[in-house]
Amino acid sequence: MTVISFGSGDYPERLCDLANPPDRLFVRSPVGADQLAILLAPPLVAIVGSRNASVAGVAFARRLAGELAASGVGVISGLARGIDAGAHEGALERGGRTVAVLGCGIDRDYPSATIPLARRITTEGAVLSEYSSGTPPAPFRFPERNRIVAALADATIVIEAAARSGALITARLALDLGRDVLAVPGAPWTNGSGGTNALLKDGALALTETADALIALGIDPGAARQDDPPITGPASKVLAALRREPVSADVLAARCGLTPADAAALIVQLELAGIIVRETDGRLVPTR
């Protein structure tokens, strides 16, 4: 564990934009304090959102983080389950930079759902916190943590946040600091759309694909853009039906006039290609 104090040469400059910058940063990372600047170098985005996100939302976060990582963009988040975990994992999958900021001491195994992920980040990225070892998680520490996330990133992306989500605090703090905020629009009748849609109404940039984030960061998306192979044949019919409305395999088969066996085979091919995911209630949801 490394400790970086305010005023030291290794202290991240961007934190000085905060009215109340942390006195010290505790860091767990394979790199030394002097190398932390490389992990935190721009371009760096924060990807935050609901802990109780849909499977599709987490899949979107993972894909977005992966594609950003492949374009050299670092990903910072809060190591919570749901969107945060998806973002960290996506970045790690593509060998990108990722940093987690905790709302408790960095020696605490919290949250328990993301312990394996935390281990990976401590060996491949960095986990940091302003709290000394042993500090337990507490509700008031998460908004404090969020200010660090917002300050370190060039832009904050919010995926799936309900009207009173903690992710919105990060977004407001980012706006206060003059950083860009991007939000993924959601259908108003879905759970995690209240907060993101409110941000959009307040002037946040809409993000529906990776290119939107790259443009906001001033990176030419043309260099990074890779078109997905087009879906053809019966699979396209299935996908079109799911785009109209995510439904269970049985309903899908009924709508497309398929036997359960044929529907299952098509679903798996779309699933393995990462084009659809299975929600926990069995509904199939397109991710793009």
């Binding site: 049985d250 309903v251 044929d262 393995l272």
Partner: protein, 497 residues
């Protein structure tokens, strides 16, 4: 005077011969009746039943000194089935029964105070042991005679009373004919056509029946999980002679064979409640009794509310699922019992069991803990998983359920294909998987892709291969094609998520 009769002690599913040796002295007049040779409480109390039943037959023995020895002495003897052989040996001691004929037969049965004979469990095991022992003639309660007659070579003589048994041995009565009872209507398995609006679950059930795979159904209460499970026995192939005799013997030894049910031809369906202990599930107890896994042999073990089962009980299922048998060890000895069954498990998606996902009040942690409890010990042994939701109206409209008979025809055809390969798909050993169930080129590509993307364990890949082989067999295809592999992966995913 010393007299002998032949009895049998049921141990697990087998019975071992016990020599009943009695000494009777009329003169002493002190009125003592002693049974030695490790009798249990029920057997100790045989003294009262035998005295009273003998009196009902006209023989007063309460003033005599009687010693009964059950040999071999180190075998624990349990239950009231020894009443009849001891009583007959005692009566022989008084000269009321012909010792020569008694010495050639086997006897079993519990006595009532009025001398009537009452049925006892384990008749089939006893009849088999008697035939092996060279005593094909078995004196037994008349209710048990039909069951004993199922054993080839056994000539049971059903008696209503102790007096009748004595008279038959003395040649004063002729044995009555054996009456087979009508099969009980409760044995009729309900028809699959009743399950409407769950086409993919019905399909999963058919695949499991065809290849002997284990199934996990996840869905809110009332969508048809139990209905489906109960109907599996109907689409499974009926038990052949050997399996039927084994299943009947198991049920008989456990004392759960319905009166006069004859050979069990329908695969058994066992649905223990989730409060079942480990001993109830896998067998055991101080006297080793077959557990639910053994009773389900050749049929279905249905565990409803899977996460509510005790964790040690679920853990104990792993060995029988893998080996098809279970070894029970107690201080009194160890027994290997058969336990080859299809496992059907069902669970709610969350602990609150709300019928609609939207109405669920469980926290995510609670849901995860609930699902982990079920999946931890068993997930690796589940081949097929399927989610059931409340059937949507459009599914109900388009769904055309088939009858049990139609589905069973396909299952039997698929089983016939497997028989030519000499192995049921669900039990193809790993070493022969590629030879018997290797997918074609495209199928293999998809399987590799799935293994990488879904981080499947080698065991998980093997399970997909076996299920894919069954799907191809149901379609009558020689090669395991990409569609079969894809469907098998989809069914595996249903168990994982």
């Amino acid at each position: 005077m010393l007299t002998h009769a032949r009895a049998y002690a049921v141990v697990g599913l087998d019975a071992i011969p016990i020599d009943v040796e009695t000494y009777v002295s009329e003169r002493d007049g002190a009125g003592a009746f002693t049974i030695v040779g490790l009798p249990d409480k029920a057997l100790q109390e045989a003294r009262a039943r035998i005295r009273s039943a003998a009196a009902a037959a006209g023989l007063l023995i309460h003033k005599a000194v009687i010693l009964a020895n059950l040999a071999p002495a180190e075998v624990r003897k349990e239950g009231a089935g020894f009443d009849l052989p001891i009583a007959l040996a005692v009566m022989a001691g008084f000269g009321w029964v012909n010792q020569d004929t008694l010495g050639e037969v086997a006897a079993v049965g519990e006595l009532a105070f009025d001398g009537r004979l009452r049925p006892v469990p384990g008749i089939l095991s006893i009849a088999e042991a008697a035939v092996r022992d060279g005593r094909p003639t078995l004196l037994c309660p008349e209710q048990c005679a039909h069951e004993a007659s199922l054993v080839p070579g056994c000539r049971p003589i059903g008696c209503a009373t102790l007096r009748e048994a004595a008279r038959i041995l003395n040649g004063e009565d002729v044995p009555r004919p054996i009456v087979a009872h009508e099969p009980r209507p409760s044995e009729v398995v309900p028809d699959l056509i009743d399950v409407r609006g769950q086409p993919s679950a019905r399909r999963a059930l058919e695949i499991c029946a065809a290849g002997d795979h284990n199934l996990l159904m996840i869905g809110p209460p009332g969508v048809g999980k139990t209905m489906l499970a109960k109907r599996l026995a109907g689409i499974l192939p009926p038990l052949d002679d050997e399996q039927a005799l084994l299943a009947t013997r198991i049920h008989s030894a456990a004392g759960v064979l319905p009166d006069g049910s004859g050979l069990l031809r329908t695969p058994p369906f066992r649905a223990p409640h989730h409060s079942a202990t480990m001993a109830a599930l896998v067998g055991g107890g101080s006297k080793i009794r077959p557990g639910e896994v053994t009773l389900a042999t050749g049929g279905v073990l249905f565990l409803d509310e899977l996460p509510e089962f005790r964790r040690d009980a679920l853990e104990a299922l792993r060995v029988p699922l893998e080996d098809g048998s279970v070894r029970i060890s107690r201080a009194s000895g160890s027994l290997l019992l058969p336990a080859r069954f299809a496992l059907i498990a069902a669970m709610n998606p969350c602990p609150c069991g709300s019928p609609e996902p939207a109405a669920c009040t469980c926290s995510r942690e609670r849901v995860q803990a609930y699902q982990r409890k079920a999946s931890g010990p068993l997930l690796d042994r589940i081949d097929v998983g399927v989610h059931l939701a409340r059937p949507a109206r459009e599914v109900l409209r388009s769904d055309q359920p088939e009858t049990t008979l139609q589905v069973r025809e396909r299952v039997l055809a698929a089983r016939a294909l497997q028989a030519t390969r000499g192995c049921v798909n669900g039990r193809i050993p790993v070493g022969r998987l590629d030879e018997l169930a290797g997918p074609d080129e495209h199928g293999q590509q998809l399987l590799d892709q799935a293994a990488t993307r879904l981080l499947l364990s080698p065991r998980g890949v093997h399970r997909i291969q076996r299920v894919a082989r069954t799907i191809a067999d149901l379609a009558g295809e020689v090669e395991v094609g990409v569609d079969s592999v894809a469907e098998a992966i989809s069914l595996r995913l249903g168990a994982l998520s």
